[in-house]
Symmetry: C2
Subunit: 288 residues, 2 copies
Amino acid sequence: MFDVAIIGTGPAGLSAAITLKMREKSVLWFGPADMSAKVEKAEKIANYPGVGIVGGRELNARFRDHAREMGLESVDKLVTTVSKVGERFMLLAENEIFEARSVLLATGVVSAKGVPGEAEYLGRGVSYCATCDGMFYRGKAIAAYCAGSRYAHEVEYLAGIAARVYLYSPERELAVSGENVERLESPIAAVQGRDRVESVRLSDGREIPVDGAFFLRNAISPASLVPGLALDGPHIAVDRQLRTNIEGCFAAGDCAGRPYQIVKAAGEGNAAAHQILEYLARTPGDAL
Amino acid sequence: MFDVAIIGTGPAGLSAAITLKMREKSVLWFGPADMSAKVEKAEKIANYPGVGIVGGRELNARFRDHAREMGLESVDKLVTTVSKVGERFMLLAENEIFEARSVLLATGVVSAKGVPGEAEYLGRGVSYCATCDGMFYRGKAIAAYCAGSRYAHEVEYLAGIAARVYLYSPERELAVSGENVERLESPIAAVQGRDRVESVRLSDGREIPVDGAFFLRNAISPASLVPGLALDGPHIAVDRQLRTNIEGCFAAGDCAGRPYQIVKAAGEGNAAAHQILEYLARTPGDAL
């Protein structure tokens, strides 16, 4: 049982992780070790006070250095479900279950809006996690969207179970082995069916009958991630104290609202960390 | 008429100034050029993401470098009153009047709580600004609290007008010339009077009859600074968008609430700057 689980290794998650670690809390930190892809790709950042005008790549490297200096290491697993059970949170990450007394959502904004039918059929043929749901598709046909090489092993895992995998990836050079994997030239444009997924439609109009559709990308919508979480448009609804509607669950950074700015995210991560410290202090710890 | 007046050169004010300047707004920025005394004095800062573990002096130097790199210069004048007149704000700073379409309060927290009687007699013998109110004390006796050498010239200005100046400063080595200046050994503990100031009481119990009391420190309480401003305990009341109860007036950083953390302040300065951009866009500019 950890004091806090932080989801996201962008500036908000990093900022919170540093402060909570300094305050000697046990921190479980989820996200890629290369930190924020968004910071990394920024051409020029001029308004992160104290660093001058820098490239995104350099700033992201400094973030990684800072994490290392503080002895922080993230767990590179995709969290797919967060649920509160009594006074504790259960987090499902690639078939492993973790427990924490509090949660900080620092997941960024889901830039992928999802395709029509994706949210509708979630749990009825649509899945975000191969190792979680793959076993339901033994001998069946599935479509898979794979955002990049870090999800390639998930596709291979699916190929080892399913009869046929129709794969689309924006990364042309993505290397995926498996004789039953058919690469698609056109992206998946819609998920279709009646009670559950029956086919996908590609952007070229072609329809492929499938039993399931996997969207393997680091962009699960907050509502899918945390059942019952209150939203405010595309963002997680938070108050001035960065509290969500679920007690013990906080949000910071882009996922908690505009502006989408690095220092705003880092600032909110810090403020949320302090709210979490207060929450932990007044909530009895687990006796185990 | 400026687009925005920012009060404070700490991390919140700097962060807002950078972002507003990048967006080509005319920014009037008040505060000492040596930036934040609080950052400067911090022994070690470990949770400003991206800079690693640094001394406060170094981080403050980086803040100054960043301001210079962006071509930002602050006006080192103490703002004593901000009032909204119609759609514009009037700012009084050491006898000069400035106008702006919007205001960001980034004044930090007033660590000095003030002495008993200080708030009560404000404007009735208590003043925060020698050059503003000194002229009312020609040939009279005044008490002055002087926080440090940057206010020494204000004490000398008072000594040139008043018959007698009773001066207390926590800085023992403070150099103030003037034959009519009497240095006090004990701090001013209270301001006393009936309708207006009649005496000050020192912490050693001594009472000195005076006509006025000047508190020369960079710590004017928000309520004294902006008449009608809503507070939340010792802080300026703001909503999630960092709006105060006065339209067009925003607050960020320590003055807007805990935690008192550098990156939280910088993040709020950025977020407030974006709210100000939206405010300016929907508020008609002045035709003058």
